[in-house]
Symmetry: C2
C-alpha cells in the first residue's frame, strides 16, 4: 500500500523526527489534536490541505514536500 495517506504519514513522521519534536509538541504548535496527528502518521487519516499546510508550516518545510513519494 503506497497511497497518498501513507506517503503523507511517512513524510510527516520523518520530518518531525528530524526536528526532534514529539507528536504532542507538533499537535500543540499546529493546534491540531494529538490523536489526530497520531492518526495521520499511522496513515489512517485523510486530512484536508489546510491541515497539511499547518503541519508543513510548523515543521518549516513546503506543504508539497509532505506529499512527495
Amino acid at each position: 500500500m503506497d497511497d497518498i495517506q501513507n506517503i503523507l504519514a511517512r513524510n510527516v513522521h520523518q520530518a518531525r523526527q528530524e526536528k526532534g519534536t514529539s507528536q504532542e509538541d507538533l499537535a500543540g504548535l499546529t493546534g491540531i489534536d494529538r490523536t489526530y496527528v497520531s492518526g495521520i502518521e499511522r496513515g489512517i487519516r485523510n486530512p484536508s490541505i489546510k491541515i497539511v499546510a499547518k503541519i508543513a508550516d510548523v515543521l518549516r518545510i513546503a506543504p508539497s514536500d509532505l506529499l512527495v513519494l
Copy 2:
C-alpha cells in the same frame, strides 16, 4: 491571499488548461462533481489529500506538484 487553497486552485487550473481538458472532462475522469471541481479552482474548497491525489492522477502529475507555490 496566498493560502494553500489558492495555491491548489492555481495549479489545478493551469495543469488542466495545459492538458486542454474542460472542468467537465476532469470531473468525469476523476468521478468528482463538476461544481466541486469549479469550487476547487476558485479556491473556496478545502479538499482532502485523497481528492488532490485523484486530480493529480488524471492530470498525470505528482500530487505534490499541485501544492507547489
